[in-house]
Symmetry: C2
Subunit: 346 residues, 2 copies
Amino acid sequence: MATIREIAEKANVSIATVSKVLNRKGGISQETVNNVMKIARELNYRPNFTARSLKNGQSRTIGVITEDLTVFNTPEIVDGIDAYCENNGYHYILGNLRFNKRFGNQPDPEECAKLVHSQVDTMLSKQVNGIIYVGYHSRAIAPVYNYEEIPFVYTYCYSTDPNIPCVLYDDQKAAYEATQLLIDRGHCDIGVIAGPTNSIHSANRILGYQEALYANKIPFNPKHIVYGNWERDIGYELSKELIQSGVTAIFAHNDLMAAGVIDYCTEHKIQVGKDLALIGFDNREIGTASRPKLSTVSLPLFDMGQTATQVLLNILAGKHIQRGQKVMLACTIIERESTMPASDSC
Amino acid sequence: MATIREIAEKANVSIATVSKVLNRKGGISQETVNNVMKIARELNYRPNFTARSLKNGQSRTIGVITEDLTVFNTPEIVDGIDAYCENNGYHYILGNLRFNKRFGNQPDPEECAKLVHSQVDTMLSKQVNGIIYVGYHSRAIAPVYNYEEIPFVYTYCYSTDPNIPCVLYDDQKAAYEATQLLIDRGHCDIGVIAGPTNSIHSANRILGYQEALYANKIPFNPKHIVYGNWERDIGYELSKELIQSGVTAIFAHNDLMAAGVIDYCTEHKIQVGKDLALIGFDNREIGTASRPKLSTVSLPLFDMGQTATQVLLNILAGKHIQRGQKVMLACTIIERESTMPASDSC
DNA sequence: AATTACATAGAAAACGTTTAAATTTAGGCA
DNA sequence: TGCCTAAATTTAAACGTTTTCTATGTAATT
């Protein structure tokens, strides 16, 4: 690779002059500028990013740690980070932890923490100016040991440390709107298939659900909430319970469990969309593949990536950020075939 | 961040000594080693990767260019690259082109090329030692203008330049095996719903299909091959044609079109798995969501990532590589419910 | 006591840049 | 001619490392 020095030699000027020309600093005669530029082009010169950032002491680079790139939704968030970086003259380096292949569904917090630490170390070594942590478990598994050292922003999960800013989607609002849709379609006996009882996401969604019932003066029946494990089979099981207890609509807290509901209904000749209204959560591909197509809640993934980056770059630019700021982004309701008007209203 | 210089001061030794200790070079007394190590730990020292690679003139870093990270399959390939790099002491930097959001289904080769060039420029700037190009169109859209400058390896797509090594999956073999499965299940009138006529992948799959027919002494009927556009709707349309012409099994060249076949059959009370055998390609989530569950071909994505990296690192290590080498990795057949034995055999 | 050998440590240059300060050059004016 | 100014260019140091070569001190050998 050609260096500034080689250009200087060919052009019969000093390396300082070349540097100034290349960085458009001015104070150089037009003739010299032209000549240097021409030679740089001829030599196919490319500035050495490494040398430059060593000298300048700044890399304009942020680190992006993903708990698992292959987990659905993560790439879309990274895409948002990518776009925002590009539009703001920043670079990023990706550090993928591969939690899924390493740990499956039972991540060992100890081991996870080690991976995060070593990734953070590597990134600090590479002089990043800040780090975005993209989780996929509701709460980041691995605590960040010393976040004072470098600005951190979490997205797609709550941070373990309440002082670190998070960029999240608004579960409660989304659940409110999903429930309202069901109510608008004429339902008042609305069941909920939630995630595990310890899920923050489900807890917030239940809040939104209750809020919507309250706003519509529909009494809340605790029996209408049942708890699953996010898997398809449990959706099948729980829908039986719910339907037998008389609900005419179900709000499943993810599309997989909603697919289980459809399985059960198909098997028992209950027409989803006619006899039972159903809405899921996540907007996965499975929702367009099912019969009927599934109404669902779509997550603002790309936007989360962009916003997380924006928050981080703001911090880097010295803009005052409230400690522990939580940015909540709105989801969008996608109505498909599984939520048609019920025959009778309440 | 602490530097080697600060450590040297605190330890009352020269920076050369510190460097030697940190790099375990030997020739330093145990006492000094202990002292320097202790101070380094106290100061939370982390080597400056930038300075180090500037000095050494090597980054042990490769570039990974993805045409689109959010396109299904890409993250899994990157995961493989990640794993292989980690196991071999290499770093990688990701450059995501976001073709999908930028261009949709009609990528402009001119614009694509520009993006690739600028990404390659950036990576060369950052002193990468080689580049892996992860495509998703059958042939890389953007030609690499000057591959002499740095080793390139393509994966998941054919390169525009025949001299660049590619790591691919073996369409022909997979198609052979998929067809053989249909034959084993008792079918001899086997239709094919291929991709567009200009698809290299489909062309190879048709070859494998014909080969299997030949091996089983089943006459080849050109009418049994119809061409689609990879979309679900076209699967619906074409299955009508095929079924009317008397096939009892269909090999769809992707899962989406296979889903369209199921749509048609469900609507016309044809029982897939009983009246009609069906196998798709790609192993997308949709195949487990459909009723019946779809038999399909699973791509060796992770393996492709690993192998592409292996090929690149071999080149970097100076191992002789045949120009234009094509590495073909085997797919796996996944049998689910859509390929049950037919009632009569041929 | 002089020489050699070895273990340990340090000095200095280098990697490819940027930049403040110094120097050269040319032109304008008394 | 001599001086001043502004423009153009160069010098040199610095960023944080690694590494070669050299220097020092001590112990072993003659």
